[in-house]
Amino acid sequence: MVVAALGMRETGGAAIYELYRWATSPFHPGPSRAAMLQSSYAQELQQRLVELESQNRSLRQVVEGDAVPLAAGTPAAVIGRSAGDWWQQIIISRGSSDGIDADDIVTGPGGLIGRVVAVSPHSSRVLLVSDPTSRVGARVSRSRATGYIRGEMGQQVVMEFFDKIPDVKVGDVVTTSAYSQLFPQDIPIGRVVDLDLSKSPAPEVTVELTSPLNIVEWVTVIPFEPKSVEIPAVDAPASQEIIPNRAAEDNLAP
């Protein structure tokens, strides 16, 4: 019994999650109706966004050279929540047989959701950005002030800055940073809702996540190769030069 339980622990409960997925399969959400439900206005905005993104990409190409595009994602349904109360995790309906590996990035409506931490053949476990042990390199998209985000077990997370006096204000959009070793850059994370710049040792702000983690039903899993970049020291000078493409050039060999 103990040996079986130890085996269960070593495999990350793979057998149980497989069984769980099979037992709950009649209740999984059907094909995504999100596209059908979206208003035409939202669709129009999306189309414009695609247009702007492609323009942006071509302009960037002129200025900075080729960027590595994100690989296509795998859609997956959320079939469960964390099995322990001290973790912020979700269980999704795709696993290693669908090409999902540990460390893949999970995004959903509203932006970043988390990272795959364990896979079984047909399900995987995702550590959400709101978990206290989760760390995401982030930056303020307006001013490019960089820092990292740590979870607080809720819809709001805390962003700590590397600079002593970061350029940030309420309402700023926060995205993943080019310094992040674990996440591709420019995935939206959330919006700044509260400032505490006098905080020691590093100034921090509260960020409201844009993806509704507690009600999300469908996610997209993006494969991602971890890259090695230098992480700036905490006491780095205020004017950090961020050259997003350098990091990408260095390693991201597909």
């Binding site: 269960m8 622990r9 070593e10 709950t24 929540r81 099995a83 322990g84 001290w86 206290p132």
Partner: protein, 194 residues
């Protein structure tokens, strides 16, 4: 050996296997309920501790060693489902041990209300063990990813209270069928005239 005697032996053997199936099957159902969040099963984002309810139902009628072993095994399984740290084994082993102790000393009569109360207390104890582990990690290791102590214990309040309330409310759903089965099982297994 008389035919009646052989048939009763065969019956007992069959019941022993059946009991094993019921024990493992019911524990498995509780494990599978853990990742589920059905309506009426969530309070402040926290669900009931199904494994702890099962453990209390198991330990109430057994010795403290049996309770502790069951708690350890269930703790390992739940660790596999979540993560290795903080480990569930400590809290669940302690809960299994204490539940068996309480019953042994006949502090509490065995009925739904007292079982619900035991589940409430054991959930609080198990969640406190988790919070203690996180606090120790935070104090000992300087690069600990966990938040500061006041935040941990604020989370502990939220998690322990809502989990304890939900668990004690759902306790009869697990306890009643299991205790009925085990009472029936004992009746079949006691030798005639014994």
């Amino acid at each position: 050996m008389t035919p009646a005697r052989t048939s009763s032996l065969a019956l007992r053997r069959r019941y022993r296997w059946l009991n094993l199936a019921v024990v493992i099957g019911s524990a498995l159902i509780c494990v599978m309920l853990l990742p589920m969040r059905l309506p009426g099963m969530v309070l402040l984002g926290v669900g009931p501790s199904w494994l702890l309810i099962w453990l209390v139902a198991w330990s109430v009628q057994r010795t403290s060693v049996e309770g502790a072993i069951a708690g350890f095994i269930l703790g390992l399984v739940q660790d596999g489902l979540t993560g290795y740290f903080p480990t569930h084994t400590l809290g669940l082993t302690l809960a299994g041990f204490l539940t068996a102790r309480i019953q042994k000393q006949r502090f509490i009569q065995e009925d739904f209300v007292s079982v619900a109360i035991i589940v409430f207390a054991m959930t609080v104890i198990a969640q406190t063990m988790m919070a203690l582990q996180i606090s120790a990690h935070q104090l000992i290791i300087s690069s600990s990813p966990y938040p500061s102590l006041p935040e941990i214990w604020l989370q502990h309040q939220r998690i322990a209270l809502s989990s304890a309330i939900l668990s004690s409310l759902w306790a009869p759903a697990v306890y009643y069928p299991l205790s009925r089965w085990w009472a029936h099982y004992e009746q079949v297994m006691t030798p005639p005239g014994g």
